[in-house]
């Protein structure tokens, strides 16, 4: 789980005018996210987003998703998967090389954290800070289907809290159909339907169905 990594990074870089804000995309609220947060003992703002509203606002469709914001409140990197990678995908296959996965994970993690440190030290001069035109290019255009997907997702969350499971599942299905690329909608809905389903056979079948396409698309070498 990433939370302890972000907390350590926060402690390291806070003296440089830097802060981490973590957002748990968790419709189950504190009951689901709370134990992980308690374990990480965050001194940074560690927030819970039951509606996935920040994901809607920032165009995130999976976790982890990372956005860099500079001192003026300008986005300098809109959406990266950080040190998440494709390394996990064969995990359920026989003969999977777990050592190779750990090596790749370490490599991506060191690379990503080095990039954050470079930006914290050098700001705009960092090669990882993108110019505004490139940031705008990477931000998804407003899309009526995405707006409806987000509204259906909120409706599903509301109905779920009310204990109306069947209508909640119908609303989540609409959200997922309108934004099929959102693993966050899909896996959250599975998890509310049945704890553990977000990482169950349906998930692995969906990952397999990606074929050559990435689970964590990247736009450059970070």
């Amino acid at each position: 789980m990433d939370l302890p990594v972000w907390q350590a990074l926060h402690e390291e870089l806070a003296p440089r005018g830097f802060t981490v804000i973590t957002v748990a995309l968790d419709s189950g609220g504190a009951a689901d996210a709370g134990p992980w947060i308690a374990e990480a003992k965050p001194t940074h703002p560690s927030l819970i987003d039951i509606h996935h509203g920040v994901a809607e606002l920032y165009g995130w469709v999976n976790v982890p998703s990372l956005t860099w914001i500079d001192e003026e409140g300008t986005i300098v990197r809109p959406n990266d998967p950080g040190f998440a990678g494709e390394y996990f995908r064969g995990m359920m296959e026989p003969g999977f090389d777990f050592a190779a996965m750990r090596t790749e994970y370490q490599h991506l993690k060191e690379r990503y954290l080095a990039a954050v440190r470079d930006w914290a030290a050098r700001g705009r001069a960092s090669r990882w800070a993108l110019p505004p035109a490139e940031v705008r290019r990477r931000l998804a255009r407003p899309n009526p289907d995405h707006a409806r997907a987000a509204a259906y997702f909120r409706l599903g969350t509301y109905l779920h809290v009310q204990g109306r499971r069947a209508p909640a599942e119908a609303a989540f299905a609409q959200a997922t159909a309108l934004r099929p690329e959102s693993w966050a909608y899909r896996r959250q809905a599975w998890q509310l339907e049945e704890p553990g389903k977000s990482g169950g056979p349906e998930f692995w079948a969906a990952v397999k169905a990606l074929g050559d396409r990435p689970y964590y698309p990247r736009q450059d070498d970070l």
């Binding site: 789980m1 990433d2 990074l9 440089r16 830097f18 802060t19 981490v20 804000i21 973590t22 957002v23 748990a24 995309l25 968790d26 689901d32 996210a33 709370g34 947060i37 703002p45 927030l47 819970i48 987003d49 920040v54 994901a55 606002l57 995130w60 976790v63 982890p64 998703s65 990372l66 956005t67 860099w68 914001i69 500079d70 409140g73 300008t74 986005i75 954050v116 700001g123 940031v135 705008r136 931000l139 407003p142 707006a147 409806r148 987000a150 509204a151 259906y152 909120r154 409706l155 509301y158 109905l159 109306r164 209508p167 119908a170 609409q174 966050a184 896996r187 599975w190 998890q191 990482g199």
Partner: protein, 139 residues
């Protein structure tokens, strides 16, 4: 009249409404009581926010008896509106103002969320610092 629940980012309200296809008409007093929106000379307003009614399109938004089509109002503000199968719960999505300004200037849109104890925090509170905004999930 049908009793429906309308939900947006600020309110959950039970209201008596007239359901007409995908439109939802609510009488002026009922609307003000339940949501705080009311008709003013500047348009349809809640607090400091006023939505001017486009000239010549008044009948889409307001009837002569003062009732308001809240779905038309939301659409006009760039909000998506969806409802459950029985049309008893209506969800009004966020207006797309934050996202629009982000696309123009790359300005990070503000948001407010609770921490695990329920205390609210906003992005704007850390203005002047570099921020790594990180999404994760328990699932």
């Amino acid at each position: 009249m049908t009793n429906v629940t309308i939900v947006d980012e600020r309110t959950v309200a039970s209201v008596d409404a007239e359901l007409c296809g995908e439109e939802l008409w609510i009488s002026a007093p009922e609307l003000a009581r339940a949501t705080g929106w009311e008709r003013k000379p500047a348009g349809i307003c809640r607090g400091a926010v006023c939505v001017p009614i486009p000239p010549l399109r008044e009948s889409e938004f307001v009837r002569p008896d003062g009732s308001v089509n809240v779905v038309a109002l939301a659409r006009h503000r760039g909000q998506a509106v969806v409802h459950d199968d029985t049309a008893t719960v209506w969800m009004f999505g966020n207006s797309d103002e934050g996202r629009q300004s982000m696309l123009g200037s790359a300005a990070a849109p503000d948001f407010t969320l609770p921490d695990v104890s329920g205390h609210l925090h906003s992005l704007s509170e850390v203005c002047g610092k570099k921020v790594l905004l990180a999404a994760w999930a328990s699932w």
